[in-house]
Each structure stands twice: as structure tokens, then as C-alpha cells.
Symmetry: C2
Subunit: 330 residues, 2 copies
């Protein structure tokens, strides 16, 4: 019996609080459009009080990727910290209901922080601006890493956002070491250009020394190598890592493999809500790798999954992803 | 200054937990399609564990009506019981964010029951089957009724579901008396044919003695008068109450006024999720009354609002209802 996982993801376990807003709301409240901003409890309370009615959907960048992988039929597990409160129960239910393993111990009632949440403000053009209250998700520590699970991971998937937190670097190091010991490979997603700013040295060291696969978008990879030229960033990236996938919005994704690169186009789609595009790209890509597909085919699978997620509100798929892949010949 | 309310609603304050299911899921779990079933904690836990990933949206039948009224521009207030937990905070935020007044004291941390929730299982044909864990919403008591608010209500709107609960009849009686004292009028919605079964005598007495307006659908009104003939039920209804609106699904709604009745057709629409159709019909109807419109015009406004809500997932409107009414010439 195969008790290995195709992919184990580690990230910030969050519940998304999604609302439509006009661009004026962003301006009036000093919210930078299209990026993720970390906020504290006071700011979260203030902003929530001002925003309109919302819907709640399980989120978290890495968790969205694992949810997509589970829907595609990969054996997937997720590691992230929630509290045993109502939002924590919702998060745990939703990811398990898709068939993913989720066994990270929940923080108990006396913990200072609640389950984290991300206020996702969706503009009329489909762009999303995220304000994240990390809550207990920030307190994932090395002791939450189950080494025997990591040893059984064919691929480890690290969410860049999770670099924000006192014990996160230690937790990641422990996970990567165990994964490698078990014969697995490790990948990371850069998550956000400002996240890259906060942790550039740690990212570059990890990518060069420990990682087999890098996920990023054009802004993140240019931030990583501190250049305003995508060409220069892709060249630098090709020197640092054997395999990389760099998404470039509606143009698709660059795949870099052993120093060579190719652009894979994405299917055309009307953007309703861009939330989760990168997360589902990674899900499709990793699912392809787990099935032994060539990286360019994996990128096409990533683009198909990303196109589904941006066609509706929320970062968890609404259709049968397996059927969608089959329909697209993959 | 006008400090009166157009409509004050009283009901079960619930958060909806919405998931798509196949009809087989209903059969396997013994869930009766299309109706509302009250469940206890154990059954709620069991069912939630079996159902797929969900999204959370503020709900509650009467609260959906008040949300619709607030969006339409009516001065609206809501009375219902939540706890000061995460789901309670979500409920309170969402209804206030629409401009409705919501001041019912929240139950505090040591209360035995949490904020109530309704698991809404949406079948491929758009029909919804509801399993409700009432939680603290069942414990709305006469002491939660602010008489000075009721005295300022032009219309009181009572949710039939709220008859399920030890102190509910007393709370309703207190509210109706205060509303009448202030010169207002009172309405009720029958909510569900099985709810009518549970409280038929109380409903009939109240409708005959205290109410100015009755909302029901065809199944509920036939249950009320214990007849399998809609004709007979409408005739009986015309004798009991001066004004009534009885919805008949895609055919529209019967309006009964001073013993005479007329059928008002509804715009054609593709049903995605029937949740909230009756709630939003009542919102459109009451908004029309508050604007001094004739009952047949009010019924058209109800049909337009109901058509919006069944065209998408969830029982809270997704578009600007004011603009929608204007587009439909009302």
C-alpha cells in the first residue's frame, strides 16, 4: 500500500471574508490595491466595521493549493494552525471534506489568538486587495511539524507568506530536512512582492540551497532579484533553481527547466475575482508533476485550474476540477 | 425628524452554511428535500461531518427580509438572538453593514448555546433542503423585545419559524401589542408547512385576531387550513385576514385584498438556489407598502426581488436592489 503523499503543503490557515467594494473604498481606507497587507486586531476591527456584508469561505494561499490538489485526485495533506473556535472548525471541515489530510493540532481555548482571517476586497475589475489578520496561524512552530508526514511527501509546498512569524523559519527547515530524508523534493511560492521584500535573503538562500521548484509571479520574481526587468529576473532565476514556473497574468506562465525557458499561454477568461489564481496554478502544476507530466504540460494544467478560480468569487474551486482537466485534454 | 421604522422584523438569527449536494446525499442521510428540519447538536455535528466544503453567509428567514428592505432603502430593524461568538459577530456585522438597526443583546460567553446555523443543501435543480440547529436563537424571550422600538414600527414582520421556542409566543405577543399601541400594523410569514403543523392553532388565532397581513406559499396556506385545495385555502384566508400574499412558485403570487383576489405573475428566471425566495418576496412587498403602493404593485416588487435571490447561491441579494426595481419600472 502506498502511504506516501503526492504533496504536503504548509501555510497560513485562514478563513476568507469576501466583500465587493468600489475602488473609492480602497482609497478612503488607505488600502493598497492588489496586494496583501498584514494588519493587527485593531485595524481588523476598524476595517471590518466599515466594509459591507461579506461571505466567509475557507482560504489561505497554501490551503487553496492543497484543496485544488485534493479535488484533482492527488494525495494531499496540509499543515497550518487554527484555534478550536468556530472559524477553525469551518477551516478544518472544508479542507478535510475534499479528502485532504489535516492533522495539525488546533490551539485550544486559552490561546491568546483566534483563527486567522483574510479580508478580501474585490474591486469591480476583479482585482483583489487583501488585509490579513494572521491570528494563531502565525504561531505555527517546529513542534507542529510531523516529521513522519514530511518523510512521506513526494513534494513539499511551502507558502512564502508563512515566513512572517517568529518560529516559521525553524518549522520550514525541519519540514524540508525531513522531506529530503524521505526522498522527496521541496518547492516554495513567493506569495507576494512585499513578502519577498520582508524576507529576501532567506528566500534566496533557500531557493539556491534547498529547493527543487520555485513558484512566483512576475512581480515577485523581479522583487526577489531586485530588478525592473522580467528578462533579467528570469535569467537570474534560471541560475538559482532547476525548475521554476513564473506566472505572467493573462499571458500565461514561463516555465524554466535546466536553464531553458518557454512561455505557456493561458485560456482566455473573464476575471470576476482574481483571488486564488496563483494558488490554483500551483495546484494544477503540482498535480501534473505528481502524474509524471512534463513541466510544460504541468504549466498548462496550472493555467486551466487558475482560469476556473478567477471566473467566480472565492479561492476554492466551484466545479469538478478532474472533469475540467479531462475536458481540456489533460 | 422621523424616528419611525418602516418595518421591524423578528426571527431566528442564523448563519447559513451552504453546500451543493447531489440528490443521493439527501436520500442517504434521510433528509427531506425542499423543507426545513430542526436538528440537535449531535445531528448537526454528524451531518456537517458528512457534507462537502461549504460557504458561510448570514441568513435567517426574517433577517433576509430585513436585509432586503434595508438594501431597498426602507428604514428597517431586526430583532433576533445571537451569541457573542465568531458567527454571532458575522451575523451582526452583515445586517448592520446594510444599514439595518440590530440591537438585540447578544448572549454572552457562558450561555449554553452558540449562535444558530442552518445547513442549506442545494440540489442540482436549485431546490434547497435546510437542516437548522437553532442554538441561542431559540431563546429569544419577551425581555429581548424593546417596546419603544416596536411602538415606532409602521409594520411588524414576524417569522413563523420563531414560534418554535419556549418564550417565543410571549415575545411575539409583547411585540404585537406595543406595535399596535404605536399605531403600527402586524404581519406574519408562515415559513414552512411543517412549521404550520407544529403551531396551527396559534397561527390561526393570531391571523384572525391580531394580524393585518399574511405571507405564505401555497403549501403553507393549504397546511394552515388543512385542505388539499389551493382554492379552498385562499377562500378561507380571505375570510380571516384583510390582506394576504400567497406565492405560487414560478406562477407568481396571489394577492388577497378585502376578500378579492388576483394573480400577479413573476418574471421568468433560471433557478440556481431557491433559498430566500419567500424572504425576498416579503421584502419587496413590504417595501412597496412602506412607499404607499397598491398591493398588486407590491406583489410585483416582491416577485422581482425573489427572482434576483434565486438566480444565485445564498439568500442575501448580490445586486443593487434599488437599481433593479428602477430597471423594472418600480
Amino acid at each position: 500500500m502506498n502511504d506516501r503523499y503526492d504533496v504536503v503543503g504548509i501555510g497560513n490557515a485562514l478563513v476568507d471574508v469576501l466583500a465587493r467594494v468600489e475602488d473609492e473604498f480602497l482609497a478612503e481606507n488607505g488600502i493598497e490595491k492588489g496586494i496583501m497587507t498584514l494588519i493587527d486586531t485593531a485595524r481588523a476591527t476598524e476595517l471590518y466595521g466599515r466594509m459591507g456584508p461579506a461571505i466567509e469561505i475557507s482560504g489561505g494561499s497554501g490551503a487553496n493549493t492543497i484543496a485544488g490538489l485534493a479535488m484533482l485526485g492527488s494525495r494531499a495533506a496540509y499543515v497550518g494552525k487554527v484555534k478550536d473556535d468556530q472559524l477553525g472548525a469551518i477551516f478544518a471541515h472544508d479542507i478535510r471534506a475534499l479528502g485532504a489530510t489535516f492533522e495539525t493540532p488546533m490551539a485550544t481555548g486559552d490561546h491568546d489568538f483566534d483563527t486567522g482571517r483574510c479580508m478580501v476586497l474585490v474591486s469591480p475589475d476583479g482585482e483583489r486587495s487583501m488585509n490579513t489578520y494572521l491570528g494563531v496561524s502565525e504561531h505555527l512552530s517546529p513542534s507542529d511539524i510531523d516529521e513522519s508526514m514530511m518523510e512521506r511527501a513526494d513534494w513539499l509546498y511551502l507558502e512564502g507568506y508563512r515566513f512572517d512569524g517568529p518560529d516559521s523559519v525553524g518549522a520550514f527547515a525541519r519540514a524540508v530536512a525531513a522531506c529530503k530524508r524521505g526522498g522527496g523534493r521541496a518547492s516554495v511560492t513567493l506569495s507576494d512582492p512585499f513578502c519577498v521584500d520582508r524576507h529576501r535573503d532567506a528566500f534566496r538562500r533557500m531557493i539556491r540551497d534547498d529547493l527543487d521548484l520555485l513558484f512566483a509571479n512576475e512581480h515577485e520574481v523581479m522583487s526577489l532579484y531586485q530588478t525592473s526587468s522580467l528578462e533579467a529576473a528570469l535569467d537570474a532565476c534560471a541560475k538559482d533553481v532547476r525548475l521554476a514556473a513564473v506566472t505572467v497574468g493573462p499571458k500565461g506562465a514561463w516555465v524554466i527547466e535546466d536553464g531553458k525557458r518557454a512561455l505557456v499561454p493561458t485560456p482566455p477568461v473573464q476575471v470576476v475575482d482574481a483571488t486564488g489564481a496563483g494558488d490554483l496554478f500551483a495546484a494544477g502544476f503540482l498535480h501534473g508533476l505528481a502524474r509524471g507530466r512534463a513541466p510544460k504540460i504541468c504549466a498548462r494544467m496550472g493555467c486551466v485550474a487558475a482560469a476556473e478560480i478567477i471566473s467566480h468569487i472565492g479561492a476554492r474551486p466551484e466545479v469538478d476540477l478532474k472533469a475540467l482537466m479531462a475536458k481540456n485534454g489533460m
